[in-house]
């Protein structure tokens, strides 16, 4: 396979001064160009894992390597600077700022003005709704539109690895397919993606491989098409 872009080695994460052991000794690896899905039911530890990769949380033990360099000791903004961006759970757009300003914040660390312009055009072509309302405050957007903005904002950092935490959560079915289409298109343009999803069927359909997190532990992993036919997965996540 390709070059390894991200590797988690025996990561443990605790909350509340060690009282809650949220993520237990997980290891995973992502190769350039992949779409990886992280599946798991509510409270399994998916968001905790993404927060830790992005540097918002620190692991209690273990190592995280990004392009073979350890990053788990770095503050979040430095990790973003290395080319690892995240669209966080619950969107977290800057509601007090315009859509354009949100995208500008996404491109905060960039100085390549011409390419930034081209990237605006690209995200607007993915999500034309955003273009129409570029000068309106993000708080005026619907939930689905805010989700699009959150993805577009993270894309504007032009990361090599993009983390997406539940991009289809709480979104009308018609919009869900356009969001998955956008994810595929972003990946096609060369960005590696780590996707956390409740919508297991759609996520597995566009993924190369997947990991399943249960109560903070990785209980299953493998190529996406194999997991789609796995009877446990079918029962737990595909409702079959």
């Amino acid at each position: 396979m390709n070059e390894k872009i991200l590797e988690l080695k025996n990561i443990n994460i605790h909350y509340g001064d060690g009282a809650i052991h949220a993520v237990k000794n997980i290891s995973l690896e992502i190769y350039k160009g992949e779409i990886i899905t992280l599946l798991g039911s509510n409270g399994a530890g998916k968001t905790t894992t993404l927060h830790t990769i992005s540097g918002l949380l620190k692991p209690t033990s273990g190592e995280i390597l990004f392009n073979n360099e350890p990053i788990h000791h770095l503050p979040a903004h430095k990790i973003t600077a290395q080319g690892l961006a995240q669209s966080p759970e619950g969107r977290q757009v800057f509601a007090n700022m315009t859509i354009l300003e949100n995208l500008e914040m996404g491109a905060y660390l960039r100085a390549d003005l011409n390419e930034i312009k081209a990237d605006y055009e690209f995200v607007f072509s993915l999500f034309p709704k955003l273009k129409e309302r570029e000068n309106q405050l993000a708080q005026t957007l619907s939930g689905g539109e805010q989700q699009m903005l959150a993805i577009a904002r993270a894309y504007m950092a032009k990361p090599t690895l993009l983390l997406l935490d539940e991009p289809s959560l709480g979104i009308a079915p018609i919009l869900v397919s356009s969001i998955f289409k956008a994810i595929k298109e972003i990946n096609r343009r060369g960005m590696t993606i780590l996707l956390v999803e409740q919508n297991a069927y759609l996520a597995l359909k566009i993924s190369t491989r997947a990991y399943v997190l249960t109560n903070g532990e990785i209980t299953l992993k493998g190529p996406a098409h194999e997991l789609m036919n796995n009877s446990d997965i079918k029962k737990a996540y595909l409702g079959q």
Binding site: S54, G55, L56, P75, A76, H77, T80, A81, A85, Q86, P88, G90, Q92, V93, F94, A95, N96, M97, E101, E104, M105, G106, Y108, L109, R153, A154, A157
Partner: protein, 298 residues
């Protein structure tokens, strides 16, 4: 027209003018209060002390015969630097500990600088001369001085500057992003600690400017921060804490109300007025005049 009424209206106009000048100064102090609250939700009780340190440094700069412009710069820089240092070594380590520990720490910091000020500068009041030679203009029955006009002009300029900064510069937009959602700002690659430092610096430097301009109405002394800080806090809450134009609005309201009450009723009520306004606002619109009830984030 009834002659008494005419006099009364002229008097009101005079108090209004004095109030706007006084309110401009409160506004300058309140801006930093509200900016720091906006960015880390800290009620920085030591803000008035940052002003005091700046004014003291400005006073000594004048004493060493620096020109007024340079002394103002000295005051702004010293206020700003002391604020950055305090944020770095006092507030930052306890930032994650919750609001009550932060509040207590801020009160402790404020007390520390009050006594530090008395030890270092002496408890005696010092006088800063007006920053320009005072000229008084008579307009009908009211007097307006060029100092009053200049103070209002400077405050107005500072407001325009802040609006420009927060809407048209990268660092200013990063301030807005950080104040809205610090974790999300970090994910954008914004070094939020730097942005917080910058906000402390800017807010305190504006207060230091206010401290130097105050020379025309009052003397400076180590305990001055308490009274001013309280009024600035009230101004910030009245306007809507965390909202920059709100702080200015609150400052003007309190300055004007104080002068009207002191002039028309009793000057001993001057310092009570701000609390009366605070209580009314908290009863009628707790989020402040310009405050919005922002929906809780999901």
């Amino acid at each position: 027209m009834n002659q008494n009424l005419t006099f009364f209206l002229w008097d009101c106009l005079q108090y209004l003018i004095n109030g706007i000048a006084q309110g401009s100064l409160y506004a300058l102090v309140a801006l930093g209060y509200t900016m720091v609250y906006g960015i880390i939700r800290l009620v920085n009780f030591a803000h008035g002390e940052f002003l005091m340190i700046g004014a003291m440094c400005g006073f000594y700069a004048l004493k060493f015969s620096l020109p007024m412009g340079a002394a103002i710069l000295v005051a702004m820089l010293s206020s700003g630097i002391i604020a950055v240092v305090v944020e770095r070594i006092v507030y930052r380590p306890i930032r994650a500990s919750g609001r009550i520990p932060a509040l207590i720490t801020a009160i402790g910091t404020s007390l520390f600088f009050q006594y530090f000020g008395q030890l270092t500068f002496g408890a005696d009041p010092k006088t800063i001369p007006p920053f320009i030679a005072e000229k008084i203009f008579n307009l009908g029955e009211v007097n307006v001085s060029n100092v009053q006009i200049a103070i209002f002009g400077i405050t107005f300029f500072v407001l325009i500057f802040l609006w420009w900064l927060t809407h048209f510069t990268k660092v200013g937009k990063a301030m807005r992003a950080t104040s809205f959602n610090l974790a999300a700002a970090e994910l954008m690659g914004i070094d939020t600690n730097k942005i917080i430092s910058f906000t402390f610096f800017l807010g305190a430097a504006i207060a230091g400017l206010g401290g130097m301009l105050m020379g025309y109405t009052m003397s400076i002394e180590p305990m001055m921060g308490m009274n001013l800080g309280t009024k600035a806090f009230v101004a910030a809450v009245v306007g809507g804490i965390g909202i920059i134009p709100g702080a200015a609005l609150g400052g003007f309201i309190i300055g004007i109300a104080e002068n009207l009450v002191a002039g028309l009723y009793k000057s001993s009520f001057r310092d009570g007025v701000s609390f009366f306004i605070l209580i009314i606002i908290l009863l009628v619109k707790p989020s402040g005049i310009l405050g919005k009830n922002i929906k809780e984030k999901v």
